[in-house]
Amino acid sequence: MSPYAIHAEGLRKRYGDTVAVDGVDLAVPQGSVYGFLGPNGAGKTTTIRMLATLVRPTARTARIFGHDVVADADAVRARISLTGQYASVDDDLTGWENLVLMGRLLGHRHRAAAGRARELLAAFGLEAAARRRVKRYSGGMRRRLDIAASIVVTPDLLFLDEPTTGLDPRSRTRVWDIVRELARGGTTVLLTTQYLEEADRLADRLAVIDRGRVIAEGTTAELKRSVATGAVHVRLRDPARREDAARILTRVLAVPVHHEEDPAALSAGLDDPARAGAALSLLACAGIAVSDFSLGRPSLDEVFLALTGQHTAPGPRQEATA
């Protein structure tokens, strides 16, 4: 029995001249939540589709609970469930009907399938919408139904492809709770995300993928440590002074300064926390008022910047690879 839920070495996928996945190594322990983090078009979806037996690798293969995804696809399918990037439920059916259909397809009799559907609708807070067509669901409701459809029969391994893309913060938190709950029940979860916060909150371990390659792997703490020991975050009272502040910080900290999305905020990696104090007093001398100043571990965004030299995608966008 393989100790790994997913074990891949050098997995590759080429579409014509485009190499979508360029030698991905993965070893995901059973029972963990594994994050797969990367910007749009990095190869996350293609990798998941190979692991879920939907796409054949161009080179090498992967094993799911010891079963080969190409040679033994049926055995793999019996252990996994996939929630794709686009909600893979039938828009024209009601939530209840969608779940009953899945139950029947997974070997339940109609009665048992109906019971399980009711149970899941209740657990996911969709009882009131059970008889409504999915077309009329909100984004968050669809996503919850989608995940519910994936666990009609609890899978040993669940693939979640960007489960919270496009959701509002409340729906997102709800999906996170569901993922944690599933993991507690023993299901291994592989989730892709372009949100660093999501990986940070959910994943035990994560792989950072860029241009079809895994460029870093480890626990979130390890990844953060590998980049810098700490980080300083500054928020200015006056956004107009940001360039002045950036110049001062660059000089005193001797590291690149990162302009945050917030127009008044700056951050920088830091090896020696003692320099932070000097930075703060120099800002004060220059007459730049600071509304927020904190010292902490680097965010995953900073990790990503350090690893790839580019920022991660700022918001929900669709991945280019199919």
């Binding site: 589709r49 879920a52 037996t53 939907l54 796409v55 054949r56 049926d74 399918r77 019996a78 252990r79 996994i80 469930s81 996939l82 794709g84 990037q85 686009y86 909600a87 893979s88 439920v89 039938d90 828009d91 024209d92 059916l93 009601t94 009907e97 259909l101 029947r104 397809l105 997974l106 070997g107 339940h108 048992a112 019971g115 399980r116 149970e119 899941l120 209740a122 657990a123 996911f124 807070g125 067509r133 519910a148 459809a149 994936s150 666990i151 009609v152 029969v153 609890t154 899978p155 040993d156 709800r174 709770d177 569901i178 709950e181 599933l182 029940g185 199919a322």
Partner: protein, 267 residues
């Protein structure tokens, strides 16, 4: 904090349902879609009735001297034609499933692989049966009198259903290849329209120019219409029926495996 989604108790993963159960579940899905979107039934209800009334009264006087007489020969033709023209609907639905991503979920299930297609085609038989019932019902009201009685009618309808089902496999192959549901629909019409009109449905092929008559003679719709007329009116049509059965066998032999091959293909 949402309540805990508990694991299923009833069934362990890995126990896939038997093939017929999976196909039936998909047929159930198709039936549910019809219940939610009853306008999907227009092509097997309103459309055939409209065609029957329209062509009977439009051509009846001119082509057969009276509408009553024309009805006897045109009704089996309209039956074949309308059912033939609705055979792409499953292919269109299949293509929509692929575009929407529902298909990925089905393909990652441990089920009998042809089940989604087989189930949808099974539901199609129901749709064709509705079209046939509508046409026969209205036909009898208008004065259609099949000499071979109910047995002949059932045999004729059965043959039409078999042909339509066999032809559906052509469209499912297409549905898995085409880029958009619209192109499936358009290509389907491009083939079924001439196939049903350039036949013996409305006119005696002997009145056509030679090259066109040659096409009509090899058109499977022509054989089917002749066979159905014969079965309903009690004329001997063993050869024609044989041709139709052979065509059905050939269509299924080529396009069912092709559909399954395309289904397994990654996209």
């Amino acid at each position: 904090m949402p309540p805990t989604p508990r694991p299923a108790r009833h069934c362990q993963p890995g126990h896939a349902p038997p093939a017929p159960a999976a196909a039936l579940a998909f047929a159930w899905r198709a039936a549910l879609r019809i219940r939610h979107l009853p306008d999907q039934l227009f092509d097997v209800t309103v459309f055939p009735l409209m065609m029957l009334v329209m062509f009977t009264y439009l051509f009846g006087g001119a082509l057969a001297g009276s509408t009553g007489e024309y009805l006897q020969s045109v009704l089996p033709g309209i039956l074949v034609m309308t059912v033939t023209m609705t055979t792409q609907s499953t292919a269109v639905a299949l293509n929509t499933d692929i575009a929407k991503g529902v298909f990925d979920r089905f393909r990652s299930l441990p089920i009998w692989r042809p089940a989604p297609v087989a189930g949808a085609l099974l539901a199609d038989l129901g749709r064709y049966a509705i079209a046939a019932t509508m046409i026969m019902g209205l036909g009898v009201l208008l004065g259609f009198r099949p000499a071979a009685g109910p047995t002949g009618v059932l045999a004729g309808v059965g043959l039409v259903l078999l042909f339509a089902w066999s032809l559906s496999w052509v469209w499912t192959s297409l549905g898995l290849l085409a880029r958009t549901p619209e192109s499936v629909m358009f290509l389907g019409i491009l083939v079924t329209f001439p196939m049903s009109f350039v036949s013996n449905v409305f006119v005696d092929p002997a009145t056509l120019p030679g090259w066109l008559e040659a096409f009509v003679d090899v058109n499977p719709v022509t054989h089917l219409v002749t066979a159905v007329r014969g079965l309903m009116h009690g004329e001997p049509v063993t050869t024609e029926t044989g041709w139709v059965l052979a065509t059905c066998a050939a269509l299924v032999a080529v396009f069912a495996p092709l559909t399954m091959r395309l289904y397994r293909r990654e996209r």
